[in-house]
């Protein structure tokens, strides 16, 4: 693989953004259409999809957040074209989602199961449209792009006590480097910043951002208080606790290390695209897959995911680079793990050395190297619901 300083080979899109993959996304905007979407991916090479439970009987901000997530997935530059698939009667209308995506110049098709007259005809129509898009996409060539064009999502899942000592600080080193190179790094998991929020607020770009830090943390904490329970019954998880984490605050202090030392430039809502470069914080829950989906819908082309207990999680459209916090899990779950941060615990590598390993991996993955989660087709998807279904 040819390596050039601070560059990678990516797909330049019509809106100027750069993708690291060239997917055709079959996007079901309603749970009733996910089976048909899956069946299209079984017929047409080069298509990806996902299963979910949303898209109907949702109202207000919950409706908007789900809508924004669908559109964001379609707009991600890792996607060449989209077949938006609806049933026909649902609240989240496929054609509305399609219209938003198409407005940017991206190739979009719409299929409605009810208009086609049933699932088998919808599969046939969808597959024919997808096949055309796949062949078009296959003619796009990678070209040299700058690392500053990347939005890197950062995440920790299945954390243990080593997370805050090894892999998270290494990701923090990478986050700082990406920011210095002019790129964007997304810190998320608001729940897992409760107890560490003052550290981020102290680095906020201005008072407005600092105030927002406390607002989002307070809102997340209030949700647990409203439920009348100790948040520790849900977060940290049993695995976190088994791994040595005793409180949410302890977990958060370790999680905050993913953010390095950079100035915090803005706080964005779930699945919102950053308006600033540098370090930004996306308000998401700690739930691994909901957070991952939010960051990818917000435009992240690659996600760095640290894990202590071991998780296979991946995304249908973005490569997830899995970095272990300890050598034990790297060896035990090697088929799901990309890099080992456990060498830091053993004293065999420094945080900076592992950070450089991650930077090199980002360049390779951006230019086409597949991650373990992609190879094993971990097409995980979940939306953070903020209202009930009616």
């Amino acid at each position: 693989m040819e390596i050039r300083n601070n560059q990678f080979l990516g797909y330049r899109r019509h809106d100027g953004k750069v993708g690291v993959r060239n997917h055709i996304l079959i996007l079901p905007t309603i749970t009733c259409a996910t089976k048909v979407a899956k069946q299209i991916t079984e017929l047409v090479h080069g298509t990806v999809s996902f299963v979910h439970q949303h898209g109907c009987a949702q109202v207000g901000v919950d409706y908007e957040q789900t809508f924004r997530t669908y559109v964001g997935l379609g707009l991600n530059p890792n996607v060449y074209g989209v077949v938006v698939l609806g049933l026909g009667c649902e609240t989240h209308q496929a054609r509305n989602v399609a219209k938003e995506i198409a407005a940017t110049g991206k190739r979009v098709e719409v299929v409605s199961i009810q208009d086609e007259g049933g699932t088998l005809d919808a599969i046939a129509t969808g597959a024919k449209l997808a096949a055309k898009l796949v062949q078009e996409a296959s003619e796009v060539q990678r070209e040299w792009c700058d690392l500053s064009e990347l939005i890197i999502g950062t995440e920790c899942g299945g954390s243990d006590a080593c997370s805050g000592l090894s892999a998270n600080p290494a990701v923090g080193y990478v986050s700082d480097k990406i920011v210095q190179l002019g790129g964007t790094s997304i810190l998320a998991e608001t729940t897992e910043l409760i107890g560490a929020e003052h550290l981020l607020a102290n680095r906020a770009k201005n008072d407005k951002v600092a105030k927002r830090v406390y607002e989002v943390v307070n809102a997340m904490e209030q949700r647990s208080i409203m439920m009348g329970v100790d948040i520790r019954t849900g977060n940290p998880s049993p695995g976190n606790i088994k791994g040595g984490l005793s409180s949410l605050e302890e977990k958060s202090l370790g999680a905050a290390n993913k953010a390095g030392t950079s100035t915090l430039n803005e706080i964005i809502d779930y699945a919102e695209h950053p308006t600033e470069k540098g370090l930004v914080w996306m308000d998401t829950p700690g739930h691994d897959i909901e957070q991952l989906t939010g960051m990818v819908a917000g435009g992240a082309q690659i996600v760095l995911f640290t894990t202590g207990r071991g998780t296979p999680t991946g995304s249908p459209i973005a490569p997830v680079i899995k970095i272990t916090t300890n050598t034990g899990v790297y060896e035990r779950m090697s088929e799901n793990m990309d890099l080992n941060g456990g060498t830091i615990i053993e004293g065999n590598e420094t945080i900076e050395q592992v950070g450089e390993n991650i930077m090199n991996e980002i360049v390779k993955v951006a230019s086409g190297k597949l991650t373990k989660a992609e190879i094993l087709m971990q097409h995980d998807f979940g939306i953070w619901r903020i209202g009930p279904t009616f």
Binding site: I225, D230, S247, E250
Partner: protein
């Protein structure tokens, strides 16, 4: 020498970087100085032990920050985890 880490000089707990036995004292590094701690029981990889006596209700520090309070009196060398450490945040039960 058995490996553990005290992240900040403000901390009153250390984290085990490997399984630690209680058969001999563990030497911990706190900034420039060292201290020998006799563990009350073996400590598993990733888990914490007290490097000072901590009174019930007193704050427990790691990373130089508060990670919770002692829910009972803790002696130097005690295993520190969910049985004697209580978080302060997200307490909808209080």
């Amino acid at each position: 020498m058995y490996k553990s880490i005290v992240i900040s000089e403000k901390d009153n707990v250390a984290t085990a970087l490997e399984d630690l036995p209680s058969t001999e004292p563990i030497t911990v590094k706190i900034g420039a100085r060292t201290k020998d701690i006799q563990l009350v029981e073996p400590i598993k990889f990733g888990h914490k032990f007290a490097i000072q006596n901590i009174e019930q209700g007193e704050y427990i520090y790691k990373y130089g920050e508060i990670i919770g309070r002692a829910s009972q009196a803790i002696k130097i060398g005690d295993y520190v985890h969910v049985h004697n450490l209580e978080g302060n945040r997200g307490r909808g039960d209080k």
